[in-house]
Amino acid sequence: MSNDLEDRLRTALHAVPEPPPSGDAYARNLQRLQQRRRRTARAGVALAAAAALVGVLVVPGLDLGRDDTLGPAAPSAEDRRPDGEVVETLAVLGRGFDLIWLEDRRDYRLCASQPPYACSWLPLLEELSSTAVAVPVDDGAVLFVGRLGNPELVTEDVLVTGQPGAEPLRADVEFVDSRVLGYRLAVFEVPTLEPAYCAAFQGGGSFGITTVNGAEDVC
């Protein structure tokens, strides 16, 4: 490989202007930590207490009256939370979690249903056409998102394994429809935190699920 190209790349990377400093970043970090700590401490979600995980598989393509836009309609005033976040609940997943839309950020989150609404940070529905991701919530719960591609599936078709190729776990799968999104969500719990999970679908198709900072393409 050309040394010139290496030098060119090195020089270009160092030439990118740094983001401008924006006040006291450490103070903002402490605020964020305190916010998470309060949410985790007060969540009291039964799922968290059981140290269980939640998996959600997205079944796109169903005609549930979805709008053509990715984001849902503007939320009503009563969707403003005490902390000021304006949200819309897209689906009540059960097990203590909801799928919500954050209006200000124009992003999705998985949040506990009860105050103080412990939320995942990562957006949720970005993975519809590729490998699933696990989105950790503060209390250890994980949201799984992936493309299923077959709206005819029934819950018994969804198999969850602790490791690629392992025997399926006993997972109590439920389907939840979100009319706002036009998606069908398959929600399941798995009992322990494993390095990786796979969800497979009888009749073809599978995708990997990773835990916190896990490697991709595990299945």
Binding site: L5, L9, N213
Partner: protein, 175 residues
């Protein structure tokens, strides 16, 4: 031209509150910059979140020296997730996606020769891009990159090689 980032290992401090603050003040700028170079549209948010996750897992670190690789790995993963999300947003709701002003300005402010390289880098697959940024911005060795990203050394080498080959093709540089 920004000064070269420090290659020094994380301070040998336990993650006590003071240690966490020292780590934050020493490395937040470089983690934010790493997210920026990986294409995150809000590198501040990525860096903040990486530190929050480090704090949450501070009791599980093998050693204090593991903190910096953890931060870098988390910033890489968070940046990738953010980019995946942006791809879907652009595809499904292009009218709702507005480029982040900072990221657009930072590329726009570059001299043309640098801008071409940065734009070409942004077109690479995420893993190739991460390897090249860690190699040529942070000056990490392939072994250090493998440990940081927790991927095999062979994967680092192949991703780096493919990434450079793609850059050469895009930029018309003789490989």
């Amino acid at each position: 031209v920004s000064p070269p980032p420090t290659r020094a290992a994380a301070p040998a401090v336990a993650l006590t509150p003071d240690g966490y603050e020292a780590l934050f003040r020493a490395h937040f700028p470089s983690i934010r910059r790493l997210a920026q170079l990986l294409g995150a549209d809000d590198p501040e948010d990525v860096a903040q979140e990486a530190f929050v996750r480090l704090h949450r897992h501070r009791d599980r670190l093998r050693s204090s020296e593991a903190a910096l690789p953890y931060l870098r790995r988390t910033a890489v993963n968070l940046s990738h997730s953010r980019l995946r999300h942006l791809r879907v947003v652009r595809r499904e709701a292009p009218g709702q996606w507005v480029p982040h002003a900072e990221s657009a300005e930072s590329v726009g402010a570059l001299r043309e020769e640098h801008r071409q390289v940065v734009v070409a880098l942004g077109q690479l697959p995420a893993k190739q891009r991460a390897v090249l940024v860690l190699r040529y911005w942070l000056d990490l060795s392939p072994e250090e990159i493998a440990r940081t990203l927790e991927i095999p050394l062979g994967t680092v080498k192949s991703a780096g090689s493919r990434g450079m080959a793609s850059l050469a093709r895009t930029l018309g540089d003789p490989a």
